[in-house]
């Protein structure tokens, strides 16, 4: 079930690294602001981990941007068919 879902799941891209650079924040500072470990920021920036809704909203608060401006969902295969 999970395998089938992941096969059609759209990759989630994000602009965290870019926004963090623009805000002149280090990974450690951003991690403290959103309440996670600095390694998790690294995972997020590399796209190796998708955050929970709560963390996504905390990030949007820090960058003062709506969530959809930080996270970009590429079109899935199903979406393309539709």
């Amino acid at each position: 079930m999970t395998g089938r879902r992941s096969a059609t799941e759209a990759p989630l891209l994000n602009r965290i690294a870019e926004l963090r650079e623009r805000a002149k924040l280090s990974r450690l500072e951003l991690a403290e602001l959103v309440g996670v470990n600095s390694q998790t920021i690294g995972y997020l920036e590399r796209g190796e981990y998708n955050p929970s809704l709560a963390l996504a909203f905390r990030l949007s608060d820090v960058f003062s941007l709506p969530v959809e401006k930080i996270f970009i969902r590429t079109r899935s295969r199903q979406g393309r068919r539709a």
Partner: protein, 277 residues
């Protein structure tokens, strides 16, 4: 006498040397070989080797301990029983290293973990238990196949000390497996922070600039020393003036530039234009 501890010492020595080699020599070797894997990720590859070798060494240490239990491994003229205690200590040490590797994520309390780490830790346990069960099942099947050929299953003849040792190893395996799974699956520990990388880059640049400045200063100091030597030997400005005068060039006399008259020697041997500079 030596034959008794030789097999054990060889295996332990090999395992320890392999671990030390991976931790210490491998990064240097990779650098020396200019491995493409090393590019832009200087710590990644050795750490991966370290994580995987830790798992391997745990299994080696557990196998060593089991082998030293009575009646498990019978070798002609080799008495392994005496090595049970050192093997057990070795296994415990490796277990400690494995559980403390990567911030002891598997044993960490929930308050210390963020959502990603919590998800990672929770994912470790089912997989770890599955691994233990698979491992135990495979061992059981091997044991069963070995016993099939014999007239009767000799499970009851196992020494109680051996059974206790095997149970203890299995218990430890249960305890340490989540950490082993973590070390194997996600072996890259704390990456070099961006700040650290930037600081290193700045420090390198600064050092290079300082070295450049230092070489200029050394040149200047050398020139000054030369000048002082010449001055102390009485070969200061007068000598230059004489030289310039001898070449028929303008020389300063009482603040005015006067063309120096070439001497008879110079007239006979005029200085080439190219050599003036």
């Amino acid at each position: 006498m030596n034959a008794q501890w030789l097999p054990y010492a060889v295996v332990v020595g090999t395992a320890v040397l392999a671990f030390l080699f991976n931790m210490v020599a491998s990064p240097r070797l990779m650098r020396a070989l200019n491995s493409p894997v090393e590019v832009n990720a200087p710590l990644r590859r050795p750490r991966i080797i370290a994580g995987k070798s830790l798992v391997t060494i745990w299994f080696v240490s557990a196998a060593l301990y089991l082998a030293t239990l009575p009646q498990v491994l019978e070798l002609p003229s080799v008495d392994l029983d005496g090595w049970s205690l050192p093997a057990l200590v070795f296994m415990l040490l490796i277990s400690f290293s494995a559980t403390t590797y990567k911030r002891s994520l598997a044993q960490q309390v929930e308050e210390q973990l963020d959502e990603r780490e919590l998800a990672a830790r929770n994912g470790l346990y089912p997989l770890a238990h599955q691994t233990v069960l698979t491992f135990a099942s495979v061992l059981f099947v091997i044991f069963f196949i070995l016993q099939v050929g014999q007239d009767e299953i000799t499970l009851g003849t196992i020494n109680s000390e051996t059974a206790l040792g095997a149970a203890f190893t299995l218990l430890f395996f249960f305890w340490v497996t989540p950490s082993l799974v973590h070390a194997w699956r996600d072996p890259v520990p704390d990456e070099v922070s961006e700040e650290m990388r930037r600081a290193l880059k700045d420090a390198k640049g600064e050092l290079r600039r300082e070295l450049r400045g230092l070489s200029i200063e050394i040149d200047a100091a050398g020139a000054e020393v030369k000048h002082e030597i010449r001055k102390s030997m009485g070969l200061g400005k007068t000598s230059n003036k004489k030289k310039r005068s001898a070449r028929g060039l303008k020389v300063a006399v009482n603040g005015r530039l006067v063309k120096g008259a070439p001497t008879a020697k110079k007239r006979a041997n005029p200085v080439k234009k190219g050599k003036r500079s």
